[in-house]
Symmetry: C2
Subunit: 416 residues, 2 copies
């Protein structure tokens, strides 16, 4: 079963908007078991919309379209579909009432342009949109079942899940099941090598998606029925986890910060930070998670040396003799933050993010880390590469990984 996606809108063809709708729909269709052969965009041009629909409807079994269902004059999709199918537009009373009620809630009346949103090609099945004024619809175009959604991501996604998935899922033969593991700390080539043979052994497909500095491993099993597919995907995933070890930090959409905060929560532990080169990035990653305040007490961004001394009690002489980017200063920062915040653990990060400030002895990309708790302090040193943004992002992950290692293994071999 091949599928295609067609997004309409001049804002897309002019590059004013990144087309995240297309990516989201492509991923959903792939997860459902479809092979997506085309992801196209056209501008708000009647002729180009009609030609694209005709072509995709002839080549694929399913076509998903977004955009062009709004109230303005450049919203042309419904009219183009009716023209293509040579059927009249028919006004739907229930949709009209829904639009009227929704506008009334915002204290607005019904304009003729809004009433137009209740018009559909004769014979179309309507896709309700509880969240907005643009209902969708689906019809057959050529050999394809063609679905039409508004371009607003929140509305489109809900309509796809609520109305399209129940129609689409039965079209795919057999069962399929996909699991996603999120990893950090191994290069993509190493992940590949470690997982060699898994595809053949379990009859699954492994997919990789690098999203710096993470790698996501997708395990997709197809089988005669859903239960078999699930079982096979789960068996393969267990082996993937074993082979990748601590590099796997979560499943599905879990972030590194979420997985660490959950682990801290289980242990009843709290965390504080002393950041230098990451400049608040680690704190920002942690506090992005709702409820993080239960576990994360706070941090300092001690960029200037004087700040390291004034806020964290780092000995000015230690900075003078070892430099701000050094193991002794990293240790003192972590211990100082722990004393001030009264947290179970404290993490420090001090390094040279670049592009300037490197020396032959301490090059751009050199970062020192330390994690202090009641049992002692572990330190780690890394030399990483890339842009300023990449150095900072990778350093943030390495710091959080050190917290996890100390929490799980103490200050033994795994921590230092």
């Amino acid at each position: 079963m091949t599928a295609a996606i067609l997004c309409t809108g001049t804002e897309l063809t002019r590059g004013e908007l990144v087309n995240t709708n297309a990516t989201w729909l492509a991923e959903e269709l792939t997860s459902l078991g479809f092979e997506v052969g085309a992801v196209d965009c056209v501008d708000d041009d009647r002729d180009r919309i009609r030609r694209a629909l005709t072509r995709l409807g002839a080549e694929h079994e399913v076509v998903l379209c977004t955009g062009g269902l709004g109230p303005t004059t450049d919203d042309l999709t419904t009219e183009c579909v009716a023209g293509l199918l040579a059927v009249p537009l028919v006004r739907d009373a229930a949709s009209l009432e829904h639009i009227r009620a929704l506008l009334a809630r915002f204290g607005r009346g019904m304009a003729p342009s809004n009433a137009k949103q209740a018009d559909f090609p004769e014979g179309a099945s309507i896709i309700p949109n509880p969240r907005g004024t643009a209902p969708g619809f689906y019809v057959r175009i050529g050999r394809a079942l063609a679905f039409f959604f508004p371009g607003v991501p929140r509305e489109m996604k809900a309509m796809f899940r609520e109305t399209a998935v129940p129609v689409l899922a039965p079209l795919v033969q057999g069962g399929h099941h996909q699991l996603r593991l999120r990893c950090f700390g191994l290069p993509e080539s190493e992940v590949n090598d470690r997982l060699s043979g898994v595809e053949a052994e379990f009859e699954v497909n492994l997919g990789y998606r690098a999203s710096f500095p993470e790698i996501e491993v997708k395990v997709l099993a197809r089988a005669a029925n859903p239960a078999d597919a699930k079982q096979r995907a789960e068996a393969a995933t267990r082996v993937v986890r074993e082979r990748l070890g601590e590099a796997v930090f979560g499943e599905g959409t879990t972030t590194y910060a979420e997985s660490l905060l959950a682990l801290l929560g289980e242990r009843g532990a709290t965390l504080s930070l002393a950041e230098s080169c990451t400049g608040g990035l680690v704190a920002e990653m942690l506090t992005r998670v709702p409820g993080s305040s239960r576990t994360f007490l706070g941090g300092t961004v001690a960029y200037a040396n004087e700040a390291k001394t004034a806020l964290l009690g780092v000995d000015a002489a230690a900075i003078a003799s070892h430099g701000a980017v050094s193991e002794p200063v990293a240790r003192a920062m972590a211990e100082g933050a722990r004393a001030r915040f009264g947290s179970t653990l404290s993490l420090s990060v001090t390094g040279i993010a670049g592009p300037d400030g490197g020396t032959p002895e301490k090059p751009v990309g050199l970062v020192h880390f330390a994690v202090a708790d009641a049992r002692g302090t572990s330190a780690e040193q890394v030399r990483t590469g890339g842009t300023r943004e990449q150095v900072r992002l990778r350093a943030a992950y390495i710091g959080l990984r050190l917290v996890r290692r100390v929490l799980l293994n103490g200050h033994g071999a795994g921590g230092g």
Copy 2:
């Protein structure tokens, strides 16, 4: 002149990667004066690649393609183009030498799969790629001039600018000039209303791109020659700036943090932070800018009340009587941070980011700000809406705006 973009790669049709290349190229083509009619993706399938190239080459004057120039067996673009044009592949000696030298720098030898990257359809013009092993090329397909680039964004962008733009720019008749202003603090509808009449008066096109919480205003002028276009775009931009006032914080790709750091630098002023609900986000935005350490001394993320007292010297009694989210505490945080960091100015942010923690009196989205300097302290209070992420992001911008207001206007009407 209409143009099309074709991106190849199964990672795109499976939704494993957001297609930012397409958006970038669409925006560049639009800026050059082309009308982009189609932005298509196909998977790594010979037949679909060939059909897409044939179709787009028949419909447009320019086609830009990305992807499929790599060394692996699923990199099919070059071969497809040669097949389509019925010409043989010819190995280019200079490209081969470039690839060999680049691999040698990484201590690697030349594999046959890499040598393949020096093959081009006979008669093609080669596009050098100083940054990678995949040179590009351009040929005529149908009525279109078709350009082929690798999918790696950094390489593709440089090759587009260095080789394609000099070929493409002269194809567009007349002159055109575009300026971009970045704005924060006005709703899109207000920006629209304030700029009404500008398009007609100066014969320019105004484009808007909302990228939360910013709005970018693009001023595009087309004229008989480049000088006229430039003059008209600049005249219109002056009026746009006047009408939007302080909401305009920069031009082109300038970030809010960059514009504020530049202003602080001009005044010889330094900044420190006391963040609560933004959790390090403001520090992260500032330190993302290379060289920020000259102006930004550091900050605290005082999430827990005890941290506000221990690190910033905020009176525990003030927190008890007014609550952590209050003007007195915001003022004490800013003044405390300024004393500890010894900075010219200090900004504090304390609020309720949600989704939990709100009360009828202090709802989610309530944020207090203060900026302290030697002359005094200004405070501001805002109630904003949206998700946790949106509350935090908008709060970060509002905080930076308050710093700018105090720096420019002192603690007068503009600052409070």
